[in-house]
Symmetry: C2
Subunit: 337 residues, 2 copies
DNA sequence: CCTTTAAATGTTAACGTTTTCATCATAAAG
DNA sequence: CTTTATGATGAAAACGTTAACATTTAAAGG
């Protein structure tokens, strides 16, 4: 394997000069630089990053840690997140991906291995890990989940605004009996989406009906059973806001199974706008939240924190907006006009 | 940051001894080892991997390269793959993820950065990259796509067997007019699945009807339009084998839109068994191919090749089998019994 | 032309490990 | 008791870079 010393020899200069030439130092004569660059590329030189990192005390890698990498459904998150991160990340950064709960994840977190860490978090269970990273002194940004602790840089979607948009839309279509299938209890996203939903109801002069709050846990199955409970109610809702698209799909399946037509009998609104939302039957009206965008913003933020270690942490909430498809109609008992 | 020299000082030995003790060398007195290990852990020592890698000429990282990381649909692949890889990978290996077409991917491929490389490939477009890796001398396994070149270690699903299983199932249900929506032209997986499909037809005494081969490209949209073409035929097929689940979903949507009932009017079979296959309406009968399993096998294989550099490359085809759900029924014009 | 200053290059040490080779005990063998 | 082997430790070099400091070269000023 060829090193800067080989190049130095070939160019008749010292290896320091080569190092400088290759790293764009300003104190190299343009002619010399070009000559060295030419030789380096002719010789197919690639730098040894271990050596480089050893002396610069960097690792050139940023780590993405994922909660519940073992979980099935929200898997498209990962691809999206990667997409967003890569867009922002300088091309010679390495990006590693690990599960927060992978054995060894905790131990691997040290400043020599990571220049910065992104945590794609889904639940408060990740807090232990997050604080461990914080304690290690590595620049850190938490993605995807709204944090209560303002001392940690954080990028997430504005779940409350999204919930509000969903409720508003249902109200504007004329619905008055609007239920909600809630996300996992204890999750910030669940409570924020619920708050937004209630905001919307109240803004339209509706008072929330306790029967219309039913618990889910963000899984397809939970959406299915939650919807069944709703359908068992003596007075069914005419619209249901589901805490995420997965549950909306579960809810749809429950309706299919019981012969309830969407949106004829019941309107449905999801949250996330995952790829398949567009291909359900009927296509799902939902709240778009862009994981890629969150990841992108988060990466920018992380990079800034890496450069300026004592930047003030901020919480950055990205807008979420309604995308209308065909799972919402006017309620039957309100009539067409 | 604390180093082995600090530990050496604290223990009153040389740093060499510390290095040996911490790396399980056999020439250290058990007592000394324990003492040193205790001190190291008390001092919260973590090794500097840059230094380590510099001298051992390893990188301790394996790279996963993904084709079309920018593409939307098959995104759940990534999560699955990661799952499988992590299961096999020693906990202190780093795993990086990059897109094959990320700028800089090619340049980053050098033996100092990766001890081994996994390519999750979807198309022949990746060949350039694959051969570049091979030329660099890094141990390599190509996942997910069946390779023609036997000189590269390869793990994929047995697409032909899967296609055969799909056709067999349709035949056994009594179908005689069975169409296929093919995958992307030029992809090995497309032609293998088609071959399997034809094998099945022929084994049941059916001769393939040219009208029943229609082109798709693995995207949802292509499934949609392909199915429309099939529905326009004067004599419609009674069953359709789709090259993957995405296209099956597109096909389903086409049927919905034209009021064609599944499986009442037409039966549908997919390929992949992605998460949502279970939640379409009706639930999709499909061929299960486990990406996680492929990734797992591939990682094992890679690890073996890293240890024994001149192991013979093998091609490993993993079985794929039918999972019956509710998108297939007996054909209407054949009658119930 | 000589001095001063700036620009370009070179020397050497460092980064934190592992590894080769040497040294020193200690125990076994004579 | 010596010698010899062996088991445990240490010293020094090496890995491929960058960085601090020193030196040379070239340009400018008088």
């Amino acid at each position: 394997m060829i090193t800067i010393k080989d190049i130095a020899r070939a160019a008749g200069v010292s290896h320091t000069t080569v190092s400088r030439a290759l790293n764009g130092s300003s104190l190299i004569k343009p002619g010399t630089r070009e000559r060295i660059e030419k030789i380096a590329s002719d010789m197919n030189y690639v730098p040894n990053y271990s050596a480089k990192n050893l002396v610069t005390r960097k690792s050139n890698t940023i780590g993405l840690f994922f909660s519940s990498i073992e979980q099935g459904t929200s898997s498209s998150f990962l691809a999206e997140a990667l997409k967003g991160i890569r867009r922002e990340l300088d091309k010679n950064y390495m990006l590693t991906v690990s599960g927060i709960d992978d054995p060894g994840s905790l131990g691997s977190v040290n400043p020599r291995r990571y220049d910065g860490i992104l945590v794609m978090s889904q639940s408060e269970l990740d807090n232990g890990f997050i604080y461990h990273v914080r304690a290690s002194g590595i620049p850190l940004v938490v993605l995807n989940r709204q944090l209560d602790d303002p001392s940690i840089p954080n990028v997430a979607s504005d779940d409350r605004v999204g919930g509000r948009a969903a409720a508003d839309h249902a109200c504007e279509q004329g619905h008055r009996r609007i239920a909600i299938i809630e996300g996992k209890p204890g999750f910030k996203s669940s409570s924020e989406r619920r708050s937004g939903y209630m905001d919307g109801l109240i803004a339209h002069g509706l008072s929330p009906n306790p029967n219309y709050f039913v618990q889910g846990d963000y899984s397809i199955e939970s959406g299915y059973s939650a919807m069944n409970r709703l359908l068992d109610l003596p007075q069914r809702p005419t619209a249901v806001f589901c805490g995420n698209d997965d549950m909306a799909i579960g809810a749809m399946n429950a309706c299919f199974d019981r012969g309830v037509s969407i949106p004829g009998d019941i309107s449905l609104i999801g949250f996330d706008d995952m790829v398949f939302a567009r291909y359900t039957n009927p296509p799902l009206t939902t709240i778009r939240k862009s994981v890629a965008e969150i990841a992108e913003e988060g990466t920018k933020l992380l990079l800034r924190h890496m450069e300026h270690p004592d930047l003030k942490p901020v919480q950055h909430l990205l807008g979420s907006r309604l995308v209308r498809r065909r799972s919402v109609a006017e309620p039957a008992d309100t009539g067409g006009s």
